[in-house]
Amino acid sequence: MYFCAMFPEYDVIVVGAGHAGCEAAVAAANMGSKVMLATMNMNTIAQMSCNPAMGGVAKGQIVREIDALGGYSGIVTDHTMIQFRMLNKSKGPAMWSPRAQSDRMMFAEKWRLMLEANQNIDFWQEMIVGLVVKDGRAVGVKTGIGLEIPAKSVVLTNGTFLNGLIHIGDKNFGGGRAGERAATGITAQLEELGFESGRMKTGTPPRVDGRSLNWDAMEVQPGDEDPGKFSYTDTPTLTKQRPCHITYTNSKVHDILKTGFDRSPLFNGTIRGTGPRYCPSIEDKIDRFAERDRHQLFVEPEGWKTVEIYVNGFSSSLPEEVQYKAMRLIPGFENAKMFRPGYAIEYDYFPPTQLKANLETRLIKNLFFAGQINGTTGYEEAGSQGLMAGLNAHLAVQEEEPFILKRSDAYIGVLIDDLINKGTTEPYRMFTSRAEFRILLRQDNADIRLTPIATRLGMQHMEDRMMRVNEKAGAAAAIQKYFEEASVTPEALNALLEENGTTPLKQKVKLKSVLSRPQINLDDLRLKVDHLDHFLKSFDAESINLAEINLKYEGYLVKEQEMADKMNRLEEVKLGEHIEYDGLQSLSAEAREKLNKLKPMTIGQASRISGVSPSDISVLLVHMGR
């Protein structure tokens, strides 16, 4: 084997510098690995290929988790956002979800600069066309001009680039993203190595010229008055923001779009990959929900200064002139000029049931997959997998135990567990409903849940973060104690209680008992109870918020924790990779087949595989004696 003398042997080579690749590189580097980040184009590091936004429901929680584990997505977002909103504020604390509009160019630049600031990360700009595999182990990559770069592990984060095929109407051409080449070679090699591959589809809307829009014809959607942020570190908060706008399609728009249906690659069978149902193209929405005479569109700026606008909700692969004609019938878009049309893209993915819980492939040792290559969609989903793959690549090289988050630890745990056990037939996006313990997995406590774990694991630069976690947890505990001990009189509170439609007090009670009423929140109490207001003055808002949640929802939290503990007992029973399931005749045939294929690491994981019944689990437990 010939390795080019230009390169040292890296601990980890990351192929692809999107959201997954960047987090993978940073995670491995901050664990102490020597990392090579290889990308086809260094000017498109951390591109936001689709909408210029981070977070949202469930996704915002993931960004907070990435941050708590020492990843950079939250920091980069905080530095480059142009608008912040906390979604779902009217719902319970588990649903609060941060979302930011980003300056797309600044976002990419900030990421690149942060990567460059890391001494453990080297860069190489070239297409990677293959892996170097020796004795069933990944030991490097091959580049387009024939170089071989040696490494102890490889993380593939190819996004939509593997045999990417872009569709606009009846035209289609190879490409990984608008204006960029597709990557070839890797899929064929992996298939030869025994991997199963599939095809997925996603899409993106047109970008338009903000100077050509009539903003007065649209509703304004401003950011929060009191904007929050993603990172638990000292990142800046927004002092000014750019608004988004809302407008709607109408039946005339729909009629024009329908004239292009016969040339739609989605409808005429040209596109064979599966697209996400929750992120449909506009033609899909019109087709499937014919009774709706309008669809909402979010008109989102792509940055502070640029005039480029992202038309969220108008994703399309119809012929460009159909997109253009239809768009001009949308209120505010009468004179719209297009920068580029929407398109659909098909790309290769590898069903993630071929992975272990540490995102390492079962076929090739020290080869890791993260992001869209695993059939997911979204920057946040990709970034979090990248982080986990980077960490685990480092651990594998160091021959240490893999790092696995449980479903009750983090959304990231839910994401990876779902992927490796259930696989996915459409691009997988996180929803809060996928998490059975979402009351525990909140955006406000990601630091408390995860920062100590990452610190113990050996992630560098966690000292400040840990100090904050300890302070926050300590403060919350002190506040909770106060509520349990201090009392409040009927005189102070009854007016408030009656006003909020709850029964007045007859005698002095502990503050906690009033706060546990659904109709009363901490801010109400603070206004009416002087000693409480005085006591809370020395605490920051984040700690007070955590204490309030812990107090107010104690019953639910305890119950959910109990359920999580119960489930986790099964996670502690290790199965190992070498069980001969074929020998266990008591298992159902389906269970045998699935267990053989997926080789779960624990009983808990086995129990979540479809086709493995509770009685199969009993059988497995019985056989554990072996």
Binding site: N51, G92, P276, Q296, P518, L584, P614
Partner: protein, 469 residues
């Protein structure tokens, strides 16, 4: 997932259902002794030594005596499961056993999963591997058999209702999840009033199912099986043979009419209500005519008919004309009753060829059984045949589904979870907390209908609402 090492207390009947004069109920877990002691009136079990046996009465909450029984107390780790264990030996009536198990459940037990006692024994180090493997095979085979039955039950009409219930719950849960995961979408969310009405509706369906569980209903709702034939054909002997074999008499209920008697029989988990009738023969007088009419009416209301004839006295032509007469008489009222013909007293005339009785479209090797009720010859086969008929055509069993404590417990838990959902809705809790209780309800119902996954909820959302930007 209920198979865990959770230190909860489990209960189950440890003798095969309906197969003995004595039924043993086993309770195992940290609260076993306390729970049994609550309803066991005799020695204070919490104060007795391990490995001791005590006589006492079982009383329900209202003080009604359910049974006299013997409690054997084992203390951890000196028991089968190495946990605290109480074994209650009661009289073998399914009614009594069911009542005692219900008392345990109300006291805080959970129904044991198949093989769970053994599993605990194994996990607590009580068994060696070869024993454990035998148990594993048993778990697998039992669950397979019960799974098959469950699947077949699911095709019946009554289970249709459970399927509909499941779908309604999924759709309801989807409405809540829609608000949570897609709050930013341009869709209309259900208002609280509508959600409350929906929960009420689902609760009322579950309530009705729960109510059907009472034992009286189980008796009434077993598969109605009429034993008919001429007076001397041996009907009573057959009835006794069926019952004695199984010793599964729940109780004897005098028929609503003087000339019919009902008994209950459990064959592999399916309840049969056996109805003995006055013999069918040509009416000699007014009273007998009434008796015959009543018999025909009974047949008309029945699901299965066991038609018995004496091979020593019955010519094929006589059988055919009798059968046609009772079928004719009941035809107006019934469409789906099935018949089994029993050629009785074969011991007295072993040279009879059953083929002689075959008649196309009526009697064939499929539904004719040769037997001797007196010598209990082929009685097992008859029972298998009865069981098979019901399993093959679950619509016959329409009303028997909630005879199973496991189903009852699951429905009851689902009901309680929905109660909390309703409370949450009424007190203005936000959707994320309400969803927690809905998930519990889905989980419990899923124990009957099969697991309900997030994907089911998402499917429901994506097909009903236009989601996505």
């Amino acid at each position: 997932m209920t198979n865990s090492f959770s230190p909860d207390t489990i209960v189950a009947l440890s003798t095969p259902p309906g197969q003995g004069a004595i039924g043993v109920i086993r309770v195992s877990g940290p609260r076993a002794i306390e729970i049994v002691d609550y309803f066991f009136k005799g020695r204070n079990l919490e104060k007795v030594e391990g490995n001791t046996v005590h006589y006492g009465k079982v009383e329900d909450e209202s003080g009604r005596v359910i049974d006299e029984c013997v409690a054997t107390v084992f203390k951890a780790p000196k028991s089968y499961t190495r946990e605290d264990v109480v074994e209650l030996s009661c009289h073998g009536s399914p009614y009594i056993l069911e009542q005692v198990i219900q008392l345990c459940l109300r006291g805080g037990c959970r129904l044991a999963d198949r093989g769970e006692f053994t599993l605990r024994a194994f996990l607590n180090g009580q068994m060696d591997l070869s024993q454990a493997e035998a148990v594993a095979d048993l778990i697998a085979s039992e669950s397979e058999a019960s799974h098959e039955l469950a699947i077949k039950q699911m095709r019946g009409g009554f289970s249709q209702e459970i399927q509909e219930l499941r779908q309604e719950l999924i759709d309801f849960a989807a409405l809540i999840e829609l608000e949570l995961d897609f709050g930013e979408e341009d869709v209309e969310f259900a208002d609280r009033g509508k959600l409350e009405a929906l929960v009420e509706k689902i609760k009322s369906v579950i309530k009705r199912l729960l109510d059907s569980f009472h034992l009286g209903n189980v008796l009434k709702n077993g598969v109605a099986t009429v034993i008919a034939g001429r007076p001397n054909a041996g009907k009573s002997t057959l009835l006794n043979a069926l019952l004695n074999e199984e010793r599964a008499i729940v109780s004897e209920i005098a028929g609503t009419t003087r000339d019919t008697v009902e008994e209950s029989l459990n064959i592999n988990g399916i309840h049969f209500r056996l109805i003995d009738t006055a013999g069918i023969r040509k009416a000699q007088d007014e009273i007998e005519r009434i008796g015959v009419e009543r018999t025909i009416a009974k047949i008309a209301q029945s699901t299965l008919v066991i038609y018995l004839f004496d091979v020593t006295e019955t010519k094929p032509e006589d059988l055919w004309s009798d059968v046609e007469r009772f079928l004719e008489g009941s035809k107006v009222l019934t469409a789906k009753s099935k018949q089994i013909y029993v050629a009785n007293k074969m011991d007295l005339n072993p040279y009879i060829k059953p083929e002689e009785y075959y008649k196309e479209g009526l009697i064939s090797s499929e539904n004719l059984i040769t037997a001797s009720a007196k010598n209990k010859m082929n009685i097992e086969y008859l029972k298998e045949k009865l069981h098979q008929l019901v399993v093959d055509d679950p619509s016959l069993m329409d009303q028997t589904i909630v005879t199973n404590s496991r189903h009852f417990e699951a429905l009851n838990n689902a009901y309680e979870a929905l109660d909390r959902v309703l409370n949450g809705l009424q007190s203005g809790m936000t959707g994320d907390f309400i969803a927690m209780d809905i998930r519990q309800a889905l989980h419990h119902l899923g124990l009957i209908t099969g697991e309900i996954h997030t994907d089911d909820l998402l499917d429901s959302i994506f097909t009903r609402f236009c989601i996505g930007k």
